[in-house]
Symmetry: C2
């Protein structure tokens, strides 16, 4: 069985780990968001790809939910003391990866190839693909102005309300090698319980990817990021309320018109009328076992 998952970091990465745990090696391809990528201290950082990599490799800091377990912060502190930017948190272990990736990118190696090499070194058996090797950057339109994603999210603590999200470069971006082939070969296409605007939006803003999903011959199932009318973490709930008019399963489906056949929602959410079939499940991934259980439910509903 070949499964393709569209995902951001965080909860999406945990869902990816659930799938990785129940599928056979090589059956899962994760298409990761790159709209959050940034250059900091001259380093190319891909937060969502790294969350996927660290989570699937068992390197993620489980408490913090991002970055590496056992992390230290000496290089960043030093850089700050020497006058460098230190608002974006990159730890020493993390910087080791960023140095290797940045050097490879400067040498002309595409992001998809670097990502594959890193995943291979970490012993990850699922495939992690960036949505595109091209430059695609999410920008957030707020009453206080338009900001590059990380400046709004980390720099301003994502306090500003969001009126719209733009995907700079999406119009000219081509899918990374392997993305369309994976979608074409998939027995099921899944959308992780990630932020529809910030994590999935940048992926499906790439037209050939959107079209491939629109024209799918298999079922596409999304998992709602909401539990009880709010996102487990992050600003998805607030954004849905303001941009889609509410934070219910119905408003999630509005983000995925034409893209999904079913939406898996949490049992605590109200299964109102929706244009696609709603499937109830326990979507809160409180431990590895819960991740795998959710993966099983989603795989079942994507094939049944």
């Amino acid at each position: 069985m070949k499964v393709v998952l569209l995902s951001g970091g965080g909860g999406g990465a945990r869902f990816a780990r659930g799938l990785d745990g129940v599928l056979a090696p090589g059956e899962l391809t994760v298409i990761g968001n790159v709209g959050d990528d940034l250059e900091i201290l001259g380093l190319h950082v891909s937060p969502d790809l790294d969350s996927l990599l660290y989570t699937l490799a068992g390197l993620i800091d489980l408490e913090r939910g991002w970055g590496r377990a056992g992390e230290t912060w000496n290089a960043l502190e030093s850089a700050g003391a020497w006058g460098g930017e230190s608002w974006f948190r990159v730890g020493d272990l993390d910087i080791g990866l960023h140095l290797v990736r940045t050097q490879a990118l400067r040498d002309g190696v595409p992001l998809s190839e670097v990502t594959e090499q890193l995943a291979g070194r970490a012993g990850v058996q699922s495939r992690i693909l960036p949505a595109t090797d091209d430059r695609l950057r999410t920008k957030v339109v707020t009453p206080a102005g338009t900001f590059p994603f990380q400046e709004w999210y980390v720099g301003r603590g994502h306090r500003d309300d969001v009126d719209a999200v733009e995907y700079d470069g999406a119009a000219d971006a081509t899918p990374a090698p392997g993305v369309l082939a994976a979608l074409a070969a998939a027995d099921a296409i899944l959308i992780a319980p990630s932020n529809p605007y910030l994590s999935i939006g940048p992926i499906v803003a790439i037209q050939p990817i959107r079209q491939a999903i629109e024209r799918r011959g298999v079922r596409c199932v999304a998992v709602s990021p909401l539990v009880g009318g709010a996102a487990v973490t992050g600003p998805a709930g607030r954004m849905l309320s303001r941009m889609a008019g509410g934070a219910t399963p119905r408003h999630v489906t509005d983000c995925y018109v034409g893209l999904i056949d079913r939406l898996v929602i949490d049992e605590s959410d109200f299964a109102a009328e929706a244009p696609v079939e709603l499937v109830m499940a326990k979507t809160l991934m409180s431990d590895h076992e819960a991740e795998r259980r959710l993966a099983d439910v989603v795989l079942e509903t994507s094939c049944a």
Copy 2:
């Protein structure tokens, strides 16, 4: 009193600290070697400038003799695990500086300006200037082949004998802004107890610097790197024996023909006939006090 010191890292940096301790703020300008510079993991590293900076700022690891006190090595270990080069030891605190400098250089800021900013941030009151902002790289010719400096020194543990030293880029290099002005304004020019071939050679291989010293109107005094016929650390003794025919004060003066008026040598060395006046002193800098005492002796002999 205006003093210019030509220096490498290590013992040269300690001598610079002695001078910095006995001179008034702003009286000392150190012209540092950049022939050892390298790019590693995409970072521009200037080992001798950094040793000068760390030593004058009180940040140096006194035991190790290079790098920062309290250093950790997590980023390098991580980079190595992800497939990056890890043969050249850069610590996390050190990497913080390299990131800031590399980013500035990529933005077009000259090395001399970056160095000045870093020294200013660290509260260093003496001036540290790279010999040149241009690319100048020391290469070492050995029976086993010709190697970039750090590949021979660190990578091969400087085990190969040295037949000759080449300074790639020196012919086209221009002195960094401030270098010639400092030499012209100096009341005394000093050469640190650094390796004549590897630390001082790359500086005086820049022809305008060499000419400025050759045509000096003030005294130029060098401190011999030898104590008892051998270098305190590093390969200077072995190199002098093989390349100059011996490791005595006389062979040190052979490296500085036309450049110096006096050579300060250690009391343990044999003051044989030499083309310039030899001045006996305790040159072993076993502590801060010894550094300052040596600085006093050298300053006296440069003016008396």
